[in-house]
């Protein structure tokens, strides 16, 4: 089968769609258009630096370009460098796989105080994303709000001793920042009871390996047959380290308190209101489209996939399943129009990073890896572009 497909976003969902399309129909023209100069999205900037095994899927994605014939158009922002309409005019199918980069806010009074950071923003800062804020001072006792894997990733990273980051790809600046951390205690608070927390049990079990913490899980009564509450209960009392971690459940934030800067969060729980003092607040309560994001509605020849389509739920396997199903749907719908110009529509764009350009960035990052690190990411966009073009 012939035909032309453009996928907007070269993160895991977009790469899996490309992989499945080309596996079923190797003669398709499949292009991945990415706003950053580098591919792989959350595999690079979201999967935790100390979960290198999870990042191994990037090898599959490399093959999509190297063996399956997909092309990479990095440093191209749809809606700025080229319009969505132009893409739809040039390709038989356009897939929006742009992810969700905005942090959902608490939506309570005081949620705009200084010292409140979204998990996405903080994660980008930790993992050297080109558009990241500077790493903030979280103070001695940060409070994490959220009960999903994103929250527990942040908790684990912040709780780790520098020696526990051996083999990760955490960068020099973030490593120094963590090494200089003044954090004495970390609280992690969820709205739901423990049995309804969204953590994967395996992520909770992993916390038992932390060497420098002492973990308390308040009201850790296991629900028979519920794995998450069982592993949480088993975690209670773990460790004899200097940094205290406290899990709390069944508390709904109602206000952030502070004079200019956050000082406490007021929660409503079964026993009434409770103020938990904190030096900063990290929110990990979901993601939403960034301002100015692409429209989410599907139309003939226009599809959406992954978090962009379904919301911020599911890890890599679930998004793969979603992507494979979408690829089937696209192939069933596809009626190639030979008048469509395909990738020629991108030919006039300046500053495009192709797959070879990314390979040069990748090689430079691997070569620059510090002792005990898997790579040293290049954070600056101009530097990426200079390496990609060999200038």
């Amino acid at each position: 089968m012939t035909g032309k497909a453009a996928i907007v976003g070269a993160g895991p969902s977009g790469c899996y769609v490309a992989q499945a399309l080309l596996k079923a129909a190797p003669d398709l023209e499949v292009d991945l258009i990415e706003a950053l100069p580098v591919p792989y999205g959350l595999v690079r900037y979201g999967v935790a630096a100390d979960h290198q095994g999870t990042k191994a899927v990037a090898r599959q994605f490399a093959r999509v370009f190297e063996r399956q014939g997909a092309r990479f158009y990095g440093n191209v922002t749809v809606g700025r460098d080229i319009s969505l309409e132009a893409l739809r005019g040039a390709y038989d199918a356009v897939v929006l796989a742009a992810g969700l980069s905005g942090d959902r806010r608490l939506g309570v009074p005081g949620d705009d105080l200084a010292g409140i950071y979204g998990a996405g923003g903080l994660t980008r800062a930790l993992y050297d994303h080109p558009d990241a804020m500077a790493l903030p001072d979280l103070g001695r006792f940060p409070l994490i709000i959220g009960n999903g894997n994103v929250a527990v990733d942040l908790l684990r990273l912040l709780a780790k001793h520098p020696q526990e980051l051996e083999g990760s790809d955490l960068g020099v600046a973030a490593s120094q920042w963590l090494g200089a951390s003044q954090i004495e205690s970390l609280a992690i608070v969820g709205r739901a009871p423990a049995a309804d927390a969204k953590f994967d049990p395996v992520m909770i079990k992993e916390l038992a390996k932390l060497g420098h913490v002492k973990i308390r899980v308040v009201n850790a009564a296991p629900d028979a047959g519920d794995k998450t509450s069982e592993v949480l209960a088993a975690l209670d009392g773990t460790g004899q380290g200097p940094r205290r971690i406290t899990f709390r459940f069944g508390l709904t934030p109602v206000a952030v308190l502070g004079d200019g800067h956050v000082q406490a969060v007021r929660f409503a729980g079964a026993d009434g209101a409770e103020d938990i003092a904190c030096s900063s607040v990290l929110t990990a309560i979901g993601f939403e489209p960034a301002p100015g994001a692409l429209p989410r509605a599907e139309a003939p020849g226009l599809y959406a996939v992954g978090w962009f389509q379904r919301g911020p739920r599911g890890t890599i396997p679930e998004n793969r399943a979603d992507a494979l199903a979408l690829a089937d749907r696209i192939l069933a719908d596809l009626s190639p129009d030979t008048a469509k110009q395909g990738r020629a529509v991108l030919a006039g764009l300046a500053g495009v990073v192709d797959y070879e350009g990314w390979c040069r960035i990748d090689a430079a990052e691997l070569a620059a890896a510090a002792e005990g690190r898997a790579r040293a990411k290049i954070q600056s966009r101009p530097e990426m572009l200079a390496i990609a073009t060999g200038k």
Binding site: D50, Q52, G53, T54, R59, Q60, V202, R320
Partner: protein
């Protein structure tokens, strides 16, 4: 030798490795490669040597594509005493407590039905420095030699 590679996957890593093994063996053998999700216990053929490639997901569970096969094996309880197989695991030692439990479950399922395991279960560690195919290809050659002896 007639070889069928069966893979259980959730992220696609085991599928990619299964295809690599197929490509490496194709010159010397007749090789078929199939997702466990498309394998019924009734499909086993004593004329084939089965190479199984399987990951681990969640808390030591089988990957999604192997689960329907495991259910069918339990429901149908086939006699596989004339079937020979070998298992290669993909795992991540970050999760040491459940490291390679998926492939172990798969081997147990086969052995419980009388199938004969050839060679040792070998595992690749995603958090290690080796490429999966660099570990899996010598394993495949070794178990094929053993099965042919």
């Amino acid at each position: 030798m007639k070889i069928t590679i069966l893979y259980g996957t959730e992220t696609g890593n085991a599928e990619m490795l299964a295809e690599d093994i197929q490509a490496a063996l194709e010159d010397d053998h007749e090789v078929d490669c199939r997702n466990l999700s498309a394998m019924s216990p009734a499909d086993f053929d004593a004329g084939q040597f089965y190479l199984m490639v399987c990951s681990t997901y969640g808390d030591g569970e089988l990957p999604a594509s192997a689960k329907p096969f495991a259910e069918a094996m339990a429901a149908e309880a086939p006699d596989l005493s004339d079937i020979r197989f070998a298992v290669f695991g993909l795992g991540d030692s970050e999760y040491d407590e459940t490291f390679n439990h998926g492939p172990k479950r798969l081997a147990d399922l086969m052995q419980a039905r009388g199938a004969v395991q050839i060679g040792e279960r070998v595992a690749h560690d995603a958090s290690g420095s080796d490429m999966a195919e660099d570990v899996a290809l010598p394993w495949a050659e070794a178990v094929i030699a053993e099965a042919g002896a």
